[in-house]
């Protein structure tokens, strides 16, 4: 599903000097895999995830997604590919405060080619699947952290992506809430979704199938 070859990411420091956040990353993730990326703070985990999620385009190297050479795609084509294939879960949930649960779920659909009626059906279906029908008219501030992240996950998968990326999805949650999310991920993975998550906790990593250790921009284990 994912194949990275000699991928690197750097930020300009001063004149002609660069700060390398990721170096010579080579990585393969099979379809149906559940990978956890671990490593100390500042190792470049989020950076890697944003590159995979095609939010960041300032990298060099090769990135194949399901056989497509992303590094050869134009920004517009990348956006299309991303919208078709990838869902993203954030540590801080990043729900829009002024929109209800229902409307938050509708956002990704509104940016893809769905008809109005289809969208309503998909949102209703998702509310149902996550058992949050009763909360659909509430605003994010009226939900607990766990509930908010539940909505965050629902929003990430509502457009039926093949690949789910999650950057410390349980980082802001109590352990019991975290477990709930992890079990949800397992279930999604069983249904065939490829998952790449960033986590600091061994326990969360244990839900996955394998672990990749990142340190100072290098993959030190699990290539």
């Amino acid at each position: 599903m994912i194949k990275l070859k000699n991928l690197e990411r750097s930020y300009p420091l001063a004149k002609e000097k660069f700060f390398y956040v990721l170096r010579d990353i080579n990585l393969e993730v099979e379809e149906g895999d559940f990978v956890s990326i671990m490593g100390p703070s500042g190792a470049g985990k989020s950076t890697l995830l944003h590159i995979l999620g095609m939010h960041d385009h300032g990298w060099r190297g090769e990135y194949f997604l399901g056989g497509t050479a992303v590094h050869h795609l134009k920004p517009k084509e990348r956006a299309t590919l991303r919208n078709e294939q990838i869902g993203f879960v954030f540590q801080q949930y990043h729900l829009l405060d002024d929109l209800t649960v229902y409307e938050n779920l509708d956002i990704p659909l509104s940016y893809r080619h769905y008809k109005k009626s289809e969208r309503a059906a998909m949102v209703a279906d998702m509310l149902d699947r996550f058992q949050i029908v009763g909360k659909k008219d509430l605003y994010p501030s009226q939900l607990s952290g766990g509930q908010q992240q539940l909505v965050g996950v629902a929003r990430a998968i509502i457009a039926e992506p093949k690949l789910l990326l999650a950057d410390e999805p349980t980082g802001n949650l109590h352990s019991s809430q975290g477990e709930e999310i992890m079990e949800l991920f397992c279930k999604l993975n069983e249904q065939g979704m490829t998952i790449v998550q960033v986590t600091h906790s061994e326990k969360n990593a244990s839900y996955g199938k394998r672990v990749i250790q990142l340190r100072d921009g290098w993959i030190v284990k699990g290539e």
């Binding site: 989020s46 939010h55 991303r82 919208n83 993203f88 801080q92 990043h94 405060d97 002024d98 940016y111």
Partner: protein
């Protein structure tokens, strides 16, 4: 006081710390306060206190003489004037000030001069003392042509006489009579006629010399006097008015022949019916409203800027509150800072006003040599006081809301959430949106108004006045000023007309006592009609003009019945007249007026023709009864030449000069002009209104656009996180562009809606400036809609484009 100074010092520091904000805010306010101060100075200087050297202008009123049941001002006769003066008790004085003109030769060139025929008490009643010599003595007002004395203006003294210190006692040749210069008026005294700066004054005794329609001082039927009255201190306008009405009633009984239906009243100076006040007061009223709108928009802008800045100063405010400052204290501090802004702006604004106080004159056509158009603004203490009030008032407007908002920081929450999701968000941003709404709607009103005026100006220019204007050239040989008597003038004009008709390129030529659309009104007279039953109180009246043969063909006024005057309609032939359609319809409804009779001044005339209606003085005038009489049966010394030709005015002037010179080497004609210029000249109030509204409307639009831009860029910068997130969730550039633009356009649309409703109500007040345009004209409203939509698209586009450039990783990281 101590704390005020402290706040002021701190305010200064804050202004210096955010120079961009300060400059923008002060600029907006300077525009707002400056335009208001300028408009106030115009209203003060032109309408409220137009005569700066006159002591008690608050007790000075224009004498308004009217005919019962008829529109418009008619003059007062000299005997009536004397009766008013004699029989009234509530008045300090009455003065006559009748505008007149003459031609002054200045070496080899002829120059026009405007002056006043004034009652002998003129300078004393006004409290104006000549700087050299004296004013008129009481006896100089009476005696037919007995006192050829004149007071000249400061400008005339300086320019024409090079400031000659021994000018008193020297003579000036005017209208064939040697006048002794007895005084020089002060520099700031320009007479008492709004619109013109007078060059000289002569006493009423010289009326016949300066009026080419004859001697009138003993004729109760001749209404020519324009004048003013000063009330005694403590007398109200109502009381004075009542006394005048009573006297007029008595005169009506005593002299029914001449005074039936005559009424005399008082009007405040700004409504003076016989000078430019009436024309310009609506324009200035609208200008005042418009600049007030500009001020509101400017205030909304500054309010917006302050709100944006208050977010940056949240920390400071939180600290102050935490350290125990009361909300009231906080509001006062912010208010002081606002006051500081507007005080600086007020200084700038007053400078702007001072600099533009005489700017109105620029909208008028370049004047004839010798004549000075005069529309002076006046920056006196009243205007300054009002400007300061405006400054404080606008501070209230723009500073108070942000101050109250800022002081309402929730201390416990202040450090927690820093308010995300501003696109379509809450509280503060809603207030800012409301301000933009106000700006957009005010701009809409102004633009719609400008559109209406532009359209009516265009219609006015495109509407025919009922006669040819482009290939008709007018010129005047001022025989009256040259001292010609009637017989000589008659011969001269007859010969000149023959010579002009023989000039190559001249298709036809005619004489007329006055040119259509000139500042000289047509004659007006009571009429009597065979077989027409008058109502008990009615005195039929009609305007008329003396014209020669070929007048109608030269001007292209069609005759709907009968014939034109011929050369044979002279003093030896029976009196004839041509009436217009309105008159025919009024007095001979359903009948053929040809062959019917009309009596004017004991003189029965037979109607030989009916002419199509034309405009006589302005295009705005209502159709009225009008008739023409042959100039050869009613000759006057002064006549104008109307020449139908394809030649240029320059060529005609040269040819005409030669012909005039051949007839009398001492004479020269005025430079010839197309009749079109004459017609355009009467449309200048409209043009002035359009110019002012376009300038201020443009300003308003500019300010509103800036305001919208500021709000949009602010909300985009506040919404960076949300926009980045949306991008991460799959939004492309188009989605974000649409999101921001639609937010901006939603504001604009609501603003336009409110503006359209307001404009519906307000444009009706422009009534008498509009010409053949409905105050709800869809084109003007549509145009305003398009312009504002385009402007707001432009204002929103840059922020929207910036939104698409947001780096989602960065935006999400910053949270």
């Amino acid at each position: 006081m101590q704390t005020f100074l402290q706040d002021l010092r701190f305010g200064f520091r804050m202004l210096r710390r955010t120079p961009g904000f300060s400059v923008l805010a002060i600029l907006c306010l300077t525009l707002g306060i400056g335009t208001n101060a300028a408009a106030l100075s115009w209203i003060e200087g032109i309408l409220i206190r137009p005569y700066p050297l006159v002591a008690h202008q608050d007790r000075m009123f224009a004498l308004n003489c009217t005919t019962r049941g008829a529109q418009g001002f008619t003059g007062l006769s000299y005997p009536d004037f004397l009766d008013l003066e004699k029989n009234s008790t509530l008045f300090e004085s009455f003065i006559i000030d009748k505008i007149t003109g003459t031609t002054l030769s200045n070496g080899d060139r002829a120059e026009r001069a405007v002056g006043g025929m004034v009652s002998a008490n003129y300078f004393d009643a006004l409290g104006v003392r000549p700087i050299l010599g004296r004013g008129f003595r009481p006896e100089e007002g009476t005696g037919r042509n007995a006192h050829p004395v004149t007071v000249i203006s400061y400008m005339t003294w300086k320019n024409r006489y090079k400031g000659d210190p021994d000018i008193i006692g020297k003579t000036q040749y005017m209208n064939g009579v040697q006048h002794t210069i007895i005084g020089v008026a002060p520099e700031r005294f320009h007479g008492t006629f709004i619109g013109y700066s007078f060059n000289f004054w002569v006493p009423t005794s010289m009326q016949e010399t300066f009026d080419n329609t004859g001697y009138k001082l003993e004729d109760r039927g001749a209404r020519w006097i324009e004048g003013y009255a000063f009330l005694k201190p403590g007398v109200t306008q109502q009381q004075a008015h009542a006394e005048l009405s009573a006297i007029a009633k008595r005169m009506e009984n005593d002299y029914p022949q001449t005074d039936r239906g005559r009424e005399v009243g008082l009007l405040p100076l700004w409504k003076t019916p016989f000078n430019a006040a009436g024309g310009i007061s609506t324009t200035l009223g609208i200008t005042a409203a418009v600049v007030f709108f500009v001020l509101l928009i400017a205030c909304a802008n500054v309010s917006n800027l302050l709100l944006a800045r208050s977010l940056l100063r949240r920390h400071e405010m939180t600290m102050r509150l935490a350290l125990g400052a009361g909300r009231r204290r906080l509001i006062r501090q912010l208010f002081t800072e606002g006051l500081l802004l507007s005080m600086i702006a007020a200084l700038g604004g007053i400078a702007v006003a001072y600099w533009s106080r005489n700017a109105l004159v620029l909208a008028f056509p370049p004047s004839v040599p010798g004549i000075t158009i005069d529309y002076p603004g006046q920056l006196d203490w009243r205007v300054l006081l009002l400007s300061v009030a405006i400054c404080i008032g606008s501070t209230m407007l723009f500073a108070l809301m942000p101050a109250i908002q800022s002081s309402h920081i929730d201390l416990s929450g202040a450090l927690k959430s820093e308010g995300a999701g501003v696109i379509g968000g809450h509280g503060r941003s809603r207030l800012r949106s409301a301000l933009v709404l106000v700006q957009v709607s005010l701009s809409f009103v102004l633009l719609a108004g400008t559109g209406l005026l532009l359209q009516s100006l265009q219609r006015m220019q495109n509407t025919s006045p009922g006669f040819f204007t482009h290939n008709v050239i007018v010129s005047v040989v001022d025989l009256f000023s040259a001292g010609y008597k009637l017989d000589r003038a008659k011969i001269f004009h007859t010969q000149l007309l023959d010579r002009v008709r023989a000039l190559p390129g001249v298709e036809s030529a005619a004489l007329a006592r006055i040119i259509p659309f000139s500042y000289n009104p047509p004659s007006s007279a009571p009429i009597e009609i065979d077989g027409y039953q008058t109502a008990p109180d009615e005195q039929p009246n009609a305007d008329y003009v003396q014209v020669s043969e070929d007048y109608f063909s030269t001007l292209g006024i069609p005759l709907v019945a009968g014939r034109e005057f011929t050369r044979n309609d002279d003093e030896n032939a029976p009196p004839v007249t041509i009436i217009n359609e309105t008159m025919a319809a009024k007095y001979w409804p359903g009948k053929d007026p040809i062959g019917q009779r009309l009596k004017v001044k004991d003189n029965w005339m037979q109607i030989v023709g009916v002419a199509k209606n034309a405009n006589y003085e302005t295009k705005l005038e209502a159709p009225r009864s009008f008739f023409y009489v042959p100039v050869r049966q009613n000759f006057f010394v002064g006549n104008a030449l109307l020449i139908r030709t394809r030649e240029t005015p320059g060529a005609i002037t040269n040819a005409l000069s030669r012909e005039v010179h051949a007839l009398d080497p001492t004479l020269a004609p005025y430079a010839a002009d197309r009749l079109q210029e004459q017609v355009d000249g009467r449309g200048y109030t409209q043009r002035l209104a359009v110019t002012l509204l376009a300038i201020f409307g443009g300003m308003a639009l500019f300010l509103a656009t800036i305001g919208l831009y500021a709000v949009m860029s602010y909300s985009v910068s506040q919404g960076t996180h949300e926009l980045g997130l949306r991008m991460a969730l799959g939004a492309n550039a188009g989605n974000l562009l649409r999101l921001v633009l639609s937010h901006g356009l939603r504001l604009t649309t609501v603003g336009i809606l409110i503006g359209a409703i307001a404009a519906f109500v307000l444009t009706r007040l422009m009534g008498n400036l509009l010409y053949k345009v409905s105050p709800r004209d869809p084109l003007a409203f549509g145009l305003a809609f398009v312009v504002i939509t385009l402007a707001s698209l432009a204002a929103c586009f840059l922020p929207a484009w910036r939104a698409t450039r947001i780096d989602p990783v960065q935006a999400l990281r910053e949270q």
